[in-house]
């Protein structure tokens, strides 16, 4: 066991997979050389694996996705980094039309077994173009997986599973968590299932679903509520698309009171899909309307500190929503 941050766990996962498989390579904007990425996620990789396996790409995201897909067709488990999840938008056509459909349209002759990493989320004073949650853009495209780790353990194990997967995986990393959470994780090789939601904490009064930074708020609030006699079941979605419907429905049925927490704006968010799954399958176990706590319907997260705070769901919001649901 060794204590690592979320960021160090991701770095370690890439390192170990590159040692294990010569076909794994890493590229993207500023990921190579001594810089090792704008957040330092790919630090030390170029030094160990050379500039041919770890290299900088031009500032063209469509090209990054296209190159990754091509490398995938050639059998490489390539890792492409989008510097921010906001910058993935120019690559949408490649990802939805080419990457996701490769296996289907070639009747299984070719696949794109690649990982596209993208740091998402707000709360770091990133302003409009460095704070967005763009995962919802891709949710709903069969052929594609979208996953996000919300613990240090998962950061390493989930990325390893993504790299080894024969499917294309969009790997969303919450940039606020990079250095905010640290934990002891095993030294041995391990993976985390790409398609399973996780019951992070068992409880009997209300069930709260979340992921990313919001999950940290949920866990803190549930500890507080435990002392007040309110027992909270906490579920980490892990897989944002496709959803682990079985686990989601089961956890919702358990308490009949469901709260969904996301920092994304409400309509069209991942949580709307979760809500729909629960409404469709668990109606007669529901004891309260499904509640979604989300950001405001506003174009993007502002830069000014007070406005960013106003935009983001915070610790108190989460606690209040949980208490309200428990009392309902």
């Amino acid at each position: 066991m060794a204590e690592k941050t979320y960021l160090e766990a991701i770095n370690l996962a890439i390192k170990e997979e590159m040692r294990r498989d010569d076909g794994v390579m890493v590229f993207g904007e500023d990921v190579g050389g001594e810089k090792g990425g704008v957040f330092g996620v790919t630090k030390e990789l170029a030094a160990e694996f050379g500039d041919e396996r770890v290299f900088n790409s031009p500032l063209g995201e469509s090209e990054i996705a296209g190159l990754a897909t091509g490398l995938g067709i050639m059998g490489h488990h390539a890792i492409a980094e989008f510097q921010f999840a906001d910058y993935i938008l120019p690559a949408v056509n490649q990802i939805l039309s080419e990457t996701a459909k490769m296996r289907y349209r070639t009747a299984g002759d070719y696949t794109a077994p690649i990982v596209m990493r993208a740091p998402y989320g707000g709360g770091v004073r990133g302003g409009f173009y460095h704070s967005q949650s763009t995962e919802k853009i891709f949710a709903g495209q069969p052929g594609l997986r979208i996953v996000t780790p919300s613990s240090v353990y998962d950061a390493k194990g989930l990325l390893k599973a993504a790299i080894r997967s024969e499917d294309p995986v969009l790997f969303y990393e919450h940039k606020k968590l990079y250095r905010a959470i640290k934990d002891d994780i095993p030294d041995e090789d391990y993976t985390v299932a790409l398609d399973k939601a996780k019951i992070v904490k068992e409880g009997t009064d209300i069930t709260v679903f979340s992921y990313g930074m919001m999950l940290q708020f949920v866990l803190k609030a549930s500890e507080k509520l435990e002392n007040q006699g309110i027992s909270v079941e906490v579920v980490d979605l892990v897989s944002l698309y496709p959803l682990d419907q079985e686990t989601i429905v089961q956890a919702a049925r358990k308490t009949g009171k469901v709260l969904l927490v996301t920092e994304d704006t409400k309509e069209g968010s991942i949580m709307n899909n979760v809500s729909s799954v629960i409404a469709e399958n668990a109606l007669f176990d529901l004891d309260a309307p499904i509640k979604i706590l989300a950001g405001p319907e506003s174009p993007s997260m502002p830069y000014a500190k007070n406005l960013e705070d106003a935009f983001l769901v915070n610790q108190d919001d989460v606690l209040d929503a949980m208490v309200e649901l428990a009392e309902f």
Binding site: A2, V124, R179, K257, F284, D285, L286, D287, E327, F328
Partner: protein, 410 residues
């Protein structure tokens, strides 16, 4: 004047916690806006936190050395004006008005289903939810005899089949398992635990021990101890003699006074001796600076000052840093042999065990009763080997054996 709460301000992107390295003010200090209040240390930087307004320090809420989350209340300031910067201050929370709807007659799908399955008359159930709403839990926990007395309970077959007093599955509680009592760990203890773990996991530690005849040292100290106490007000123990002998030996063995840091061996120019001082619930390792320039009496005075500060909880940050070698007085607990854990990033730690009388064969084959002591040394085997450690220990031994009644302690 009004009281405002100063919080630990954000120290940069993705920094979530910081250590209070040192307070630069105390209760009663008059501060001007932008005066430094404290030094905060994150894993990235050490930085001074300025006052947000003029005022008088009312209370410090966090002690030096504690690690706090960003946004934690750390100090209360009595302000003179009411003009303050927003972000560092606590905000008063405005209570949301909650409309009180009566929910007592609205049933959720779950409640309708369970009532149907169990044949429960919802009029007989007292709701515990908001506005008197009947919740799913109310029905799962429902037993016929809990019904409101004014209404007649409709007992159908489905509920009467099981023994009437048998609780339903969801209310069954097994007897609690007897467990040991848990005590939350203090933040100081956490720091100690972290350092200990870091030391044993990162450093390959080797261990050796020698025995020294300190009969002459014992006699020398006994001769001067009463006068010393009279002059200085505190006792002269054996420990300063050992610290002195060690620091003398370190001059000739700079490798023992070095440090392994990121594949580089740093040889320290100063000889600063860390000494372990235990309190009831924690372990401190304050530092005697430039020990090699001090006499036995000078070392005794420093030890007395540091130990007193630890006991009075007044130990200053500057007295905690810069140690290059640790000498640990395990003998004071009666120990005769112990294995120290290196105080990283130092290269070694020496344990001075208790002095005991033993029957010894002397060089001329006579038998004598002598005062013996064990010195136990733990070394960082990455940079030190048995040879250097052995030579060092033998020099410490020689230094100790050279002390006699003619040795001047001043």
């Amino acid at each position: 004047m009004s009281e405002i709460v100063i919080k630990m301000p954000p120290l940069g992107e993705s920094v979530t916690e910081a250590t209070i390295a040192s307070w630069m003010v105390e209760p009663g200090t008059n501060v001007k806006k932008y005066d430094p209040l404290l030094e905060a240390m994150s894993d990235k930087v050490t930085t001074e936190i300025p006052a947000v307004d003029d005022g008088i320090v009312s209370r410090l809420l966090v002690e030096e050395g504690e690690v706090v989350d960003i946004g934690t209340d750390i100090m209360i300031l009595d302000t003179i004006s009411d003009q303050t910067d927003g972000i560092l201050l606590s905000e008063t929370k405005v209570e949301k008005a909650v409309p009180q709807n009566s929910n007592s007659l609205r049933y959720s799908p779950a409640v309708m289903r369970i009532a149907g399955e169990k044949g429960i008359d919802l009029n007989s159930v007292a709701g515990t939810g908001k506005g008197g709403r009947i919740t799913r839990k109310d029905l799962l926990n429902y037993q016929p005899d809990m019904a409101a007395p004014v209404k007649k309970t409709v007992v159908t077959e489905t509920v009467s089949k099981p023994a009437p007093v048998a609780p339903t599955a969801s209310t069954t509680k097994s007897a609690p398992v007897q467990k040991g009592e848990g005590t939350p760990v203090s933040s100081l203890r956490k720091v100690i635990a972290k350092n200990m773990l870091k030391s044993v996991t990162e450093i390959p530690q080797a261990w050796t021990m020698i025995e020294v005849d300190v009969t002459n040292l014992v006699n020398a100290r006994n001769k001067v101890k009463d006068d010393f106490k009279k002059q200085n007000g505190y006792s002269l123990s054996y420990f300063p003699y050992f610290v002195k002998a060690v620091s003398q030996a370190l001059i000739n063995h700079p490798k023992m006074n070095s440090s392994w840091q990121n594949d580089t061996v740093i040889t320290n120019k100063e000889i600063n001796t860390s000494i372990a001082v235990a309190t009831e619930d924690a372990l401190f390792v304050p530092v005697i600076k430039n020990t090699n320039n001090l006499s036995v009496s000078g070392i005794a005075s420093e030890i007395n000052r540091l130990a007193t500060d630890v006991r009075d909880k007044k130990l200053k940050n500057e007295d905690m840093i810069g140690g290059t070698f640790t000498v640990n007085n395990t003998g004071s607990f009666g120990s005769i042999e112990s294995k120290g854990i290196i105080n990283a990033p130092q290269a070694a730690i020496l344990q001075v065990e208790s002095i005991r009388k033993e029957v010894k064969v002397m060089p001329d084959n006579s038998i004598a009763i002598r005062n013996m002591v064990n010195l136990c040394l733990t070394i960082d085997h990455r940079l030190l080997d048995g040879l250097v450690a052995g030579r060092f220990l033998n020099e410490v031994k020689a230094n100790l054996e050279n002390i006699d009644e003619t040795t001047n302690i001043y």
